[in-house]
């Protein structure tokens, strides 16, 4: 074929009928949520007919030496669905084939942002034998009603259609307008030429004259380059290079900043903490120096407990526990808060991808995902949002879609989680992503040998996510979006799936000596850590790039997704490469591990970094931080409150069921595939109604392993940020109690349970924030020892603060506890849905006057409450109860079980009833309680119904098993136990207190409220 000229083609693909234009329908729905205040023309249209015209199209811009016939063939055969879509070749990018008059908005990705669709088009062309196609860009086109104003259209685009972090848009003149180039706002023009070129070879390596700098200059340098290093750390670096007698390169400085970042080195959790505890009057009660929160508390608990089945804790990408004789489990939970706040889809998407790689990084097959999400209330008016903050509805929908996209496409079931809504998450939404993995015992190699090759697998490297580690280690502000755009990426789950397929086969064939994922800090972090004990030499010029023009430090730091680094013995390289070729995974040798104890990075022949491993990993000056905690009363309410002022219990119950944190999450949960892999025994939605809120998940992942096919894993979590506002210590105890309570309610065994911690906190440099952290960490320690459950892994996300102007908005301190339990037989578990009329309902555990920070208090207002305490865990009793009850369930003595948590007994009983579609008749007079004597008579029903005292359960027992159940529990040392009533076939939910009927509602009313339907 002779040379031909490069031609640009523009293809528009539209649905043949509005019924197939699903994005337009979604847009219409989202439009209905938008505030009309910013859409005057739309508001003026009101409900007028005809209804608003909305259509969408997919745009492809192709460029290459192909013929129009080839492009037409490509479009006809692969770009459209011939039954529901049609296409047109546009004369130019700015035109539309549609006869529609009105506004057109085109949205494209910014250069450098992952565009998996464009990659698929290139693959499609090669399948059809179209060789000349060179570049592809894809975009979405929206046709909006001509009756809207230009201002409306811009407002809609900005609120719904594009995110400046990863996209740009252009407004096209209505059909007929000939002027070209009025391309929207100051967005970059669509360019097929890739990102703006940086100086390429020879690479630009800056040398920074550190040795001359004073403190202020050091501090400025750190800020300008987004290094997030303190002055002390900058000075340590300065000192190191003075000794070396040279200036550091930008690669070296960036490497140190990344390695020493909060994200990678947990410097707060490792810092020396000077802790002061004040009495409520302000006098110092305790003053102590803690050598490190992680070492002194979290890891300390694990080592004191010394459980033999803990295979590895805090030493790998994920914690490992023994599952069966032949298998181990790996578990890791990560946060991805900052990215999710500014680009919800991409942030959550890559968050899931990252935690899956953590599990892959211990050579485990990912078998389940969990996600816990914290958002602002969905109905928050846009006008109340601080500048730069995305609407919570948009954050929530983006995050949920991001989680859905990655987990589903990887084929990993998302089986457990929670969604919390609170005003204090408006500016700082939280996204916790967890992943569980399975691996044959002893199959995770972790010994790098000098001479092993450094092989990178998977995605290519681009300018993505640069400074992610340091970005997430700093606060966000209203300018963050503009500054840190490059810190956010969109994932490519299929690439990661392919990498997973390769890694697991390579593990089977023993083709590598060590493996780690490229997460925050990219190659720098992964390779730097892998070579810490040996030394490593890599040539960055060999790294496969998405596009040219990256500076060496950018290649080195890039957080491009879906990459794994393997230490491969040279003898195994060919086999690995052959495997990668088959699985369509790119694999590149970047260098080799050495025995010189140095990190040597080159660009071709030129050395761009040369650091001693010892300095890199241990040279960071130990931080000393100050922490302050002022004791405060653990009670709220007033001694003069009158019971008459309390609202009707049935109304409160319905309000609680409607509370977004308590109400049905079906809309979220169903978007996640929780059945893929076929191992999900206890599912997130349970009961005859098919939508009851399960307490957690039970998996049976070894179906095909005949030696232990019934072995089960129980996954649960506990989180209650409201308690932390009074005392984070008790929040921690309650969170552990809740996670283990959920585990017990399913039939899990707390003697075989392990915990993970995830802290999301404000700036630890603030002594009060750190003081709260110390309290929480101490709570974790006491809880772990009290329950006998070790921590095996964890993660801290600090600096969750939003700044605008002078205001600092730290996140509400939030601790997520994730629990992992092992049981012998997954079939010996129960769910929380009532099973049969006539069965007895027991309350297990003591109820106390603990309404402080409860959901009841939030709903009725604490001012109406009598003096009431924060829920507090009686550790010994809690452990005894959970041990005995879990065993009762595994022995088949229990038909269903639900833990009492948000909303207390009333909500738990209502959830069991609405899940099983059965009635309930209870009398609270028999409820085991303590400390209610001093309470006015009229307050007792509210406490019995809504107190959130921990370690309590509602248990359904068949009448024939009554004696066996009671005998078992008593033998186990559980005395707080009483049958309050029974399950009925009446369809009514009736709770009495002696002769007084407190609540009498139909199951249909409960379901309706719980599903958020208004009365």
């Amino acid at each position: 074929m002779g040379r031909s000229t490069v031609t640009d083609y523009h293809i528009e693909v539209r649905a043949t009928s509005p019924q197939y234009d699903i994005p337009a329908q979604q847009l219409a729905r989202e439009l209905s949520f938008l505030s009309r205040a910013r859409l005057p023309a739309l508001a003026a249209l009101g409900e007028s007919l005809p209804s608003l015209f909305l259509r969408t199209a997919q745009l492809y811009s192709l460029s290459g030496t192909c013929s129009p016939e080839e492009i037409t063939r490509l479009a006809r055969e692969l770009l459209i669905d011939p039954v529901t879509q049609t296409f047109s070749l546009l004369p130019s990018a700015g035109r539309s084939s549609s006869g529609a008059t009105g506004h057109i908005i085109d949205v494209f990705f910014l250069p450098g942002v992952t565009d998996t669709l464009a990659e698929s088009v290139l693959l499609a062309a090669s399948l059809l034998g179209i060789a000349g196609l060179e570049r592809v860009a894809t975009g979405r086109r929206y046709f909006l009603d001509e009756r809207l104003s230009r201002q409306d259209v811009r407002a809609i685009a900005e609120a719904l259609l594009y995110n400046p972090v990863i996209q740009f848009y252009r407004l096209l003149p209505a059909e007929g307008e000939r002027a070209a180039g009025s391309s929207g706002r100051s967005a970059p023009r669509l360019s097929l030429a890739g990102p703006a070129p940086s100086p390429s070879s020879p690479p630009h390596v800056a040398r920074l004259a550190l040795s001359e700098m004073n403190v202020e200059e050091l501090s400025n340098l750190s800020r300008q380059r987004m290094l997030a290093l303190t002055v002390e750390e900058m000075q340590a670096i300065q000192e190191y290079f003075r000794r070396q007698g040279r200036a550091p390169t930008d690669v070296e400085l960036e490497t140190l900043a990344q390695t020493w970042s909060e994200h990678c080195s947990h410097k707060t959790f490792k810092a020396t903490v000077v802790y002061r505890e004040l009495t409520p009057a302000g006098e110092t009660a305790i003053e102590e120096t803690i050598p490190g929160l992680l070492r002194s508390f979290i890891m300390q608990a694990t080592s004191e407990l010394a459980r033999p089945w803990v295979v590895s804790a805090f030493s790998d990408n994920a914690g490992l526990v023994q599952f069966t004789d032949g298998y181990d489990l790996a578990f890791k939970v990560e946060t991805h808060n900052h990215p999710s706040a500014i680009e919800p889809f991409g942030g959550a998407n890559t968050g899931v991808g990252g935690v899956i790689r953590d599990v892959l990084g211990v050579s485990a097959r990912p078998i389940a995902c969990t996600d816990v999400l914290c958002f602002g209330p969905p109905d928050t008016p846009v006008e109340e949002l601080p500048p730069g903050v995305l609407a919570p509805r948009r954050v929530a929908s983006g995050v949920v879609n991001g989680v859905r996209d990655y987990g589903n496409k990887m084929g990993i079931p998302t089986v457990n989680g929670a969604v919390l809504y609170h005003r204090e998450y408006l500016c700082n939404p939280l996204v916790f992503c967890g992943c569980l993995g399975l691996l044959p015992h002893g199959s995770h190699p972790r010994a790098v040998e000098p001479g092993d090759l450094v092989v990178v697998l998977g995605g290519r490297t681009g300018r993505d996510g640069i400074h992610g580690a340091t970005f997430s280690s700093g606060e966000m502000s209203s300018e963050t979006q503009a500054v840190a755009g490059s810190a956010v990426q969109i994932g490519a789950p299929i690439t990661e799936k392919k990498v997973t397929d390769v890694v697991l086969q390579a593990r089977e064939r023993r083709l590598y000596h060590a493996i780690t994922d490229c997460g925050a800090g990219g190659f720098s972090s992964a390779i730097g850590e892998m070579g810490a004990q040996t030394g490593v030499r890599v040539d960055l010029a060999r790294a496969p790039l998405k596009y040219q023009g990256l500076a060496p430090w950018e290649v080195w730091l890039s957080e491009a997704q879906e990459r794994m680094v393997l230490a491969v013995p040279p003898a195994c390289l060919d086999e690995l490469l052959e495997l990668c070729a088959l699985e369509e995974v790119e694999a590149t040798v970047l260098g080799e591990f050495t025995a010189d104890g140095r990190l040597t990075v080159t660009w071709g022949e030129e050395v761009v970094a040369d650091l001693e491993m010892v300095f890199l990993h241990e040279g960071r000056p130990q931080r000393t931080l100050e922490a302050l905690w002022q004791r405060r009363p653990l009670t709220v309410g007033s001694a003069t409150a009158s019971p008459e002022a309390l609202p009707d219990a049935a109304d409160v119950l319905l309000t609680l069921l409607r509370h977004p944190t308590i109400g049905s999450k079906e809309g979220v949960v169903r978007r996640y595939d929780h059945e893929v892999q076929g191992a999900t025994v206890r599912k997130p939605l349970v009961g005859r109604a098919g939508n009851g809120p399960g307490d957690g998940a039970v998996l049976q992942p070894l179906l095909e392993d005949l030696s232990a096919p019934r072995a089960g894993v129980v996954l649960t979590n506990g989180i209650n940020p409201l308690y932390g506002k009074i005392d984070p210590y008790h929040m921690a105890l309650n969170a552990v109690d809740e996670a283990l309570r959920n585990l017990t309610a399913l039939g899990g065994d707390i003697e075989r349970a392990a915990l993970l911690d995830n802290f999301c906190w404000g700036n630890p440099a603030d002594p009060e924030q750190l003081g709260m952290l110390v309290r929480a960490v101490r709570g974790c320690y006491d809880a772990a020892l009290g329950f006998g459950t070790p921590f095996i892994s964890g993660k801290d996300s600090l600096n969750n603060e939003y700044r605008f102007g002078e205001r600092r908005l730290p996140v509400i301190p939030t601790l997520l506890i994730s629990a992992l339990g092992v049981i012998e037989d997954a079939s010996r578990t129960v769910d929380m849905a009532l099973k049969a009329a006539g069965n007895l309902l027991y309350v297990v555990g003591l109820t106390r006057n603990e309404l402080a920070a409860s959901h009841y208090a939030e709903v009725v207002g604490p001012e109406l409450l009598p003096t009431t305490a924060l829920p507090q865990v009686e550790l010994e009793q809690a452990r005894t109860t959970m041990k005995a009850l879990g065993e009762a369930i595994r022995r088949g003595l229990v038909q269903s079980c639900h833990d009492l948590s948000e909303g207390g007994l009333a909500v738990a009983a209502a959830e069991m009833a609405l899940a099983g579609l059965l009635g309930v008749s209870l009398d609270l007079a028999r409820q085991p309680a303590t400390g209610l004597e001093e309470l006015a008579e009229g307050f007792r029903p509210a406490v019995l119904l809504f107190s959130e005292s921990p370690s309590r359960f509602l248990v359904e027992v068949a009448p024939s098993q009554r004696e066996a159940f009671e005998a078992h529990m008593r033998a186990g040392g559980v005395t707080a136990l009483a049958a309050l009533g029974h399950v009925t076939a009446s369809g009514r939910f009736v709770i009495k207190h002696g002769a007084e009927t407190l609540i009498d509602l139909s199951i249909a009313e409960l379901q309706a409220a719980w599903k958020g339907e208004l009365p």
Binding site: Y20, I22, R404, K409, A492, I494, K497, D673
Partner: protein
């Protein structure tokens, strides 16, 4: 076994359900391999070394260009020739979720034109616009699909997809799919969430015209063990499709399917051998009688109104010895005898259904609209349960199962008649050691036909497979008949008085009694033996079905009114044992045994077995299957109404039954 059925589960970038799919194939009996498409592309002929191909779920190549697009192209461009041979040889091909999308995008479903592969249907975005994971119910349609054979009850399976909405270009094409019986699976109900994605006409799965290529959106591989079900229900519905594929491949290969290992190892596992299937007696006929319309919601609900508890078999065993070499049918699929029998059974059962039969409650119970009772002044329900005893062994020996149902139903009908009641509905129970589907279907069809002849609905039934309970080859058949009668019109034996006349109605043979004795007597004689007095093979005489007296009795009731005072159905216990049951205190039945000619079968038994008369009359009906008590002044009228009636004696004062 010389040939082991082999399954290939295709891997490809982004496919992610391959492991559980392979597990399902293995559970069904296949030797299963996971093969990456790139490996297959290197040696395309390798495809033909497998007997079953599965395209599992996932997001092949990311599905960015529309679900399944790139994998479909890859398959047809590079493997088209081998795929064509695979499919045309009748080997089964299953596409699940993304695999279904691939088959549709590739133009392999619903139709395949190998010279011009063209996409004619689509699986497009769910109408909700959302990915959705939930458990749904499916109903099978009458189709040529080999995967859904013998499945007549609703199936529960999970769906998990964002692009599963089945769309076909025109109403004509949809009707064509129905005409060609290509719609294998429907979502059980209209609208969200029963139909979770808004599929046209609730279509969940379609097969090719030959029936060996099936695509479906739900995930059968995710429900192959009881524990995978939300309520941990067994047996696992999804496994049925894989077992059918296995049975079908065995049949293609001409081999006996080996016994599939049962789930787990504990006591509850009887279920895996015992397959409770509900026959869905759809209103297909109604649907078909409306050309140009696909079944809409209205006809859909009509179709589910035919549920009945019914078992049928998964595995179709070829009965005659077959060559063990590969013997693929060269075009399409044979509907062989077993399948045909099942179809017959369905039609027969359906034919018993009047408007009174309501929607069944899945596999658990059937419902009957008691409308007719409302028109009665004081309805009395009458019920009877019986079995056919060891006559089943003769049926097995004769390898004839088409009449045994008549024995069962007619026996029960005659019992019911003694109260003057008319039958309303029947429920049957068939228990076997090992289920032969063809045999089971024939038996049930005969039950259904017998029901139809007496105008009674075969409302439900159950087939149990209990290998430890029954010796191989044996079965037991029993049933319950429910009927109704006006309270005032019940036949009231209390009115029997001395002077009433006893009339007999001839039997057709042994009916269902005395077979243990008769079999012992004839043990030494082949069933083909023609005794001169019988004039037909022994087996024929012995197996002759139980006669039904419904029309005769109804005629007599109408004509005689209360003068028909009592009815005794002569079953086990003979005249003494049965007539005595209707005699009021102080009355005696005197029967003159010489008043009718005892048929030769009975005399032959007496002779060969050297059985005395008393024993014979206690055990057999001796030629009269029903004895009537009629007021003396109405005997002439009775004989006019039913000339077959034979006066055999009279009622006197006294006690008991006397044979003279």
């Amino acid at each position: 076994m010389s040939v082991v059925p082999r399954a290939l589960v295709l891997r490809a970038p982004g496919i992610n359900c391959e492991r559980e799919t392979a597990y399902a194939c293995r559970l069904a009996g296949f030797e299963t391999e996971l093969v990456h498409i790139n490996r297959l592309l290197r040696e395309p002929e390798r495809l033909l070394s497998y007997h079953f191909l599965v395209l599992p779920g996932g997001f092949s190549y990311g599905d960015d260009l529309g679900a399944g697009t790139l994998l479909a192209k890859n398959l047809t461009v590079h493997l088209g020739r081998q795929l064509q041979r695979f499919v045309e040889e009748g080997r089964p091909l299953l596409g699940i979720c993304n695999g279904f999308q691939v088959l549709v995008r590739a133009g392999l479903l619903p139709h395949t034109d190998w010279r011009n592969l063209r996409q004619t249907a689509s699986l497009t975005f769910n109408s909700s616009g959302r990915f959705e994971c939930r458990w749904i119910s499916l109903v099978t349609e009458s189709s040529r699909c080999i995967f859904t054979r013998g499945i007549y009850r609703p199936l529960e399976l999970p769906v998990a997809h964002g692009e599963g909405r089945f769309v076909i270009a025109s109403a004509e094409q949809l009707e064509e799919l129905r005409q060609h019986e290509q719609i294998a699976l429907l979502y059980d109900g209209d609208g969200y969430p029963a139909n979770p994605n808004g599929s046209q006409a609730n279509v969940a799965g379609v097969c090719n015209p030959a029936g060996n290529v099936l695509g479906l959106m739900p995930h059968p591989e995710r429900y192959v063990r009881a524990l995978q079900h939300p309520q941990q229900r067994s047996p696992a519905d999804g496994l049925l499709l894989f077992q059918n594929a296995f049975a079908y491949v065995c049949q293609l290969l001409g081999i006996e399917p080996p016994v599939v290992p049962a789930e787990g190892s504990e006591g509850s596992d009887e279920n895996s051998r015992r397959r409770m299937w509900t026959a869905r007696l759809d209103g297909e006929r109604e649907g078909r009688e409306q050309p140009g319309h696909l079944r809409t919601s209205a006809t859909m609900s009509a179709s589910t109104s035919g549920e009945r508890g019914r078992t049928a078999a998964v595995a179709v065993v070829r009965r005659e010895p077959a060559p063990t070499s590969l013997s693929y049918a060269t075009s399409g699929v044979n509907i062989e005898a077993g399948e045909h029998a099942v179809e017959l059974m369905k039609a027969a059962v359906r034919a018993t259904h009047g408007p009174a039969v309501l929607a069944g409650v899945g596999a658990f119970a059937a419902a009957f609209r008691a409308e007719a009772l409302k028109e009665m002044r004081e309805p009395v329900l009458v019920a009877t349960t019986d079995g056919v005893g060891t006559k089943t062994l003769l049926a097995v020996q004769m390898d004839r199962f088409s009449t045994i149902g008549y024995d069962l139903v007619n026996h029960c009908v005659n019992d019911l008649l003694t109260q003057g009641a008319r039958p309303l509905f029947f429920m049957d129970y068939l228990a076997t050691g090992r289920l032969d589907p063809e045999q089971a279907a024939t038996i049930v069809a005969s039950v259904a036909q017998a029901c139809q002849e007496v105008g009674c609905a075969l409302l439900g039934g159950e087939t149990a497979e209990m290998p430890d309970m029954y010796v191989p080859g044996s079965f037991d058949l029993a049933g319950t008949l429910v009927g109704a009668v006006e309270a005032a019109e019940r036949i009231d034996p209390a009115t029997i008085r001395a002077g009433d006349v006893l009339l007999g109605l001839p039997s057709s043979g042994l009916h269902t009694n005395g077979y243990s004795l008769a079999r012992r007597v004839f043990a030494a004689y082949p069933l083909e033996t023609v005794f001169p007095e019988l004039g037909e093979p022994l087996g024929e005489a012995l197996l002759r079905p139980h006669r039904c007296y419904l029309s005769e009795i109804m005629r007599l009731r109408a004509g005689l009114g209360t003068a028909l005072k009592g009815l005794a159905h002569i079953t086990g216990g003979g005249f003494q044992g049965n007539v005595v049951r209707i005699l009021p205190p102080g009355t005696q039945a005197v029967i003159e045994t010489a008043s009718w000619a005892v048929p030769p079968l009975f005399t032959l038994i007496a002779r060969l077995g050297q059985i005395n008369d008393a024993e014979m009359y206690r055990t057999f009906n001796m030629g009269l299957g029903m004895v009537l008590v009629v007021a003396q002044d109405q005997v002439d009228q009775a004989l006019r109404l039913v000339p077959e009636l034979v006066p055999i004696g009279e009622i006197r004062e006294g006690e008991g039954v006397t044979l003279t």
